[in-house]
C-alpha cells in the first residue's frame, strides 16, 4: 500500500498536537482512508481520551515493542468509523522505553495495512520527539499565533529538515480573528513569513474543541463547528484536494494574507 506516514509535532506543549492528530485521523477515515493514529507520547498518554477509546485499551504500543503482544493486538478499532484505528501508549513507562529503531519498525509494519499512519509526538526536542519522528516521511507542524510557539516551531522545523522529512507543512491553530485584526496577535502571514514552510490549514479558536476533547469524540466525526470544518479541510488537502483557505484574518501585520497564499500555493 502506498501509505503516508506523518508526525504531528510542535516543539511547544499545549498548542493542539493531540487534538489535531485525533481530528485529522477521524476526518481521513470519514473520507474512506484507512487510518491509524499512534500515541507517541510515552508516559503521558492523551490520544486515547481525546478519541474516546480509553476504556478499550488492553495492550499498548510498549507491550507490542516489548514482545508482550503482537502489534495487531495493540490496535484499537473505532466503533464509530469503519476505517479508524489507534494504538495507545503506556502511561506507566517513560520515553526511554522506546528506541528510534523500534519506532521505525512499527511504522514500517503498519505501512502494509494503512493509507495514513499519524504519529502524535510529545512536546520537546529530546528523545520522545526524535522517536516519534524516526519512522515517518512527512511532518505537520502545529503552532499558535504566539511568539513563543512560533520560535519553538522554527526550532522543530530545523530539526525536521535535518532529518530529511518532506513535505513539512504548517497548521496555525487557535486563531482569534478579532485579536489579529486589532494587532494583539501575530497574523498568519507573519507566522508564514517567519517559518517559511507551506501552510496546510488554519484552525480558529472554538469552544467546541474543548467540549469534544472532554466528551472523547473528535469534532470531525459529527460536528460542523468552524474548527471541525477547518480540520476536514486540512484532511482534504492532505489527500491532495485543492481546497481554498477560509478567510480568517484579512488585516495582518505584514500585508495581504491572500496575496501571500496565492504566492505560496499558486491558487
Amino acid at each position: 500500500m502506498d501509505s503516508h506516514v506523518i508526525v504531528v509535532t510542535s516543539g511547544k506543549g499545549g498548542v493542539g498536537k493531540t487534538t489535531t492528530t485525533a481530528n485529522l485521523a477521524a476526518a481521513l477515515a470519514r473520507m474512506g482512508k484507512k487510518v491509524v493514529a499512534i500515541d507517541g507520547d510515552v508516559g503521558l498518554r492523551n490520544l486515547d481520551v481525546i478519541m474516546g477509546l480509553e476504556n478499550r485499551i488492553v495492550y499498548t504500543l510498549i507491550d507490542a515493542i516489548d514482545g508482550a503482544c503482537r502489534l495487531r493486538q495493540a490496535l484499537i478499532k473505532d466503533k464509530r468509523l469503519e476505517n479508524l484505528f489507534m494504538i495507545p501508549t503506556a502511561q506507566s513507562k517513560t520515553k526511554d522505553s522506546v528506541s528510534a529503531e523500534q519506532m521505525v519498525a512499527v511504522c514500517d509494519e503498519l505501512r502494509a495495512d494503512f493509507d495514513y499512519i499519524i504519529v502524535d509526538s510529545p512536546a520537546g526536542i529530546e528523545a520522545g520527539f526524535k522517536n516519534a519522528a524516526a519512522g515517518v516521511d512527512e511532518a505537520l507542524v502545529v503552532t499558535t499565533p504566539e511568539v513563543s510557539a512560533v520560535r519553538d516551531a522554527d526550532r522543530i522545523i530545523g530539526l525536521l529538515e535535518s532529518m530529511e522529512k518532506s513535505p513539512i507543512r504548517l497548521i496555525v491553530n487557535r486563531i482569534r480573528p478579532h485579536m489579529m485584526e486589532k494587532g494583539d496577535m501575530l497574523g498568519v502571514a507573519d507566522v508564514l513569513d517567519i517559518l517559511a514552510i507551506d501552510l496546510i490549514g488554519m484552525v480558529p479558536e472554538d469552544e467546541s474543541v474543548v467540549k469534544s476533547a472532554n466528551a472523547g469524540e473528535p469534532l470531525t466525526i459529527s460536528s460542523d463547528s468552524p474548527a471541525a470544518r477547518a480540520f476536514k479541510n486540512i484532511a482534504a488537502r492532505l489527500v491532495g484536494d485543492n481546497i481554498p483557505f477560509m478567510p480568517v484574518d484579512s488585516t495582518s501585520g505584514n500585508g495581504n494574507l491572500f496575496g501571500r497564499l496565492k504566492r505560496v500555493f499558486g491558487l
Binding site: 520560535r151 530545523g158 530539526l159 535535518s162 530529511e164 517559511a196
Partner: protein, 220 residues
C-alpha cells in the same frame, strides 16, 4: 548530491547537500573517494554539511568510509546545527572556516567574509573569524558570532555578536531590526519590542562605551 569545489587556498570544499538522506551519504562519499583517489590523497578538505545534524553514527561512518581510507586531511567540519557544533568541538574537531594563508598575511587571524545564502532557524548557529553577511533572515533563537562585522540582509530576530573576540570597532547592519539584544565586543545593547527602530533598517555600533543604534541611512 555532493559537490567539490577548489578554494583560493588550494583546499577542497566538499559541499554535502542537506536534502540527501543520511543513509546515502557514506556511499556517496565512498564514490567520490574512488573516483578522486589521486587528487584526494593528502588534500586539505573542508566538509560542509549546511544545517545538517551530525550524530555519532554519521561521523564515524564518514571517518571510516571516507576520511581515513582516502588519506585526506579534514581542516573543518562545518555545520550550522548548534548542538552538533558543540559536540564536535568537545571531541576536538575544528568547526570554523579555516583561515587561508593569503588572508593571514594581511589581517592576522581573519578569514575572508562568510556569505551565507540562507536563513538561520531557531537553534542554528554560525561562528566565523571575519565578517559575516547573511543573505536571509536570522530567526528568533538563531545565533551569529563573528570576530568582525555582521550584515543581515533579511530580518534580524535572533542574537548577533559582532567583534565577539573583543573588537568594539565592529558594526552590525540589519535590513529589518527586530531583535531585543545586539552584542558588540564586550557590550550588550538592549532594545524594546515596538521601539522606534523596530522593523527598520539600522546600523548598530559602539561609541564611547555605549551601544548606539541608528537608522540607515542616518536622518539628517
Amino acid at each position: 548530491m555532493i559537490k567539490i569545489k577548489g578554494t583560493a587556498d588550494s583546499m577542497m570544499r566538499c559541499i554535502i547537500s542537506e536534502g540527501m538522506p543520511a543513509e546515502e551519504l557514506p556511499a556517496a562519499l565512498g564514490d567520490i573517494r574512488l573516483r578522486g583517489q589521486r587528487i584526494l590523497r593528502g588534500a586539505e578538505v573542508i566538509l560542509d554539511f549546511g544545517a545538517r545534524k551530525l550524530d555519532e553514527r554519521l561521523v564515524s561512518r564518514i571517518l571510516t568510509d571516507f576520511v581515513w581510507p582516502s588519506e585526506v586531511r579534514v581542516v573543518a567540519w562545518i555545520t550550522y546545527d548548534a548542538e552538533s557544533q558543540d559536540n564536535m568541538k568537545r571531541a576536538g574537531f575544528s568547526t570554523s572556516e579555516p583561515v587561508p594563508a593569503t588572508a593571514r598575511a594581511k589581517l592576522p587571524g581573519t578569514a575572508p567574509s562568510l556569505v551565507l545564502e540562507r536563513s538561520l532557524r531557531s537553534g542554528q548557529r554560525v561562528e566565523h573569524s571575519g565578517d559575516v553577511i547573511i543573505d536571509g533572515h536570522v530567526n528568533d533563537g538563531a545565533e551569529v558570532l563573528s570576530t568582525g562585522n555582521i550584515t543581515v540582509l533579511g530580518r534580524l530576530n535572533g542574537l548577533v555578536h559582532a567583534g565577539c573576540e573583543g573588537d568594539e570597532g565592529t558594526i552590525v547592519i540589519a535590513r529589518s531590526m527586530e531583535a531585543l539584544q545586539v552584542r558588540i565586543g564586550g557590550r550588550i545593547g538592549s532594545l524594546e519590542r515596538g521601539a522606534q527602530w523596530w522593523g527598520k533598517m539600522v546600523t548598530v555600533r559602539v561609541d564611547d562605551g555605549s551601544v548606539l543604534i541608528d537608522y540607515w541611512p542616518a536622518l539628517k
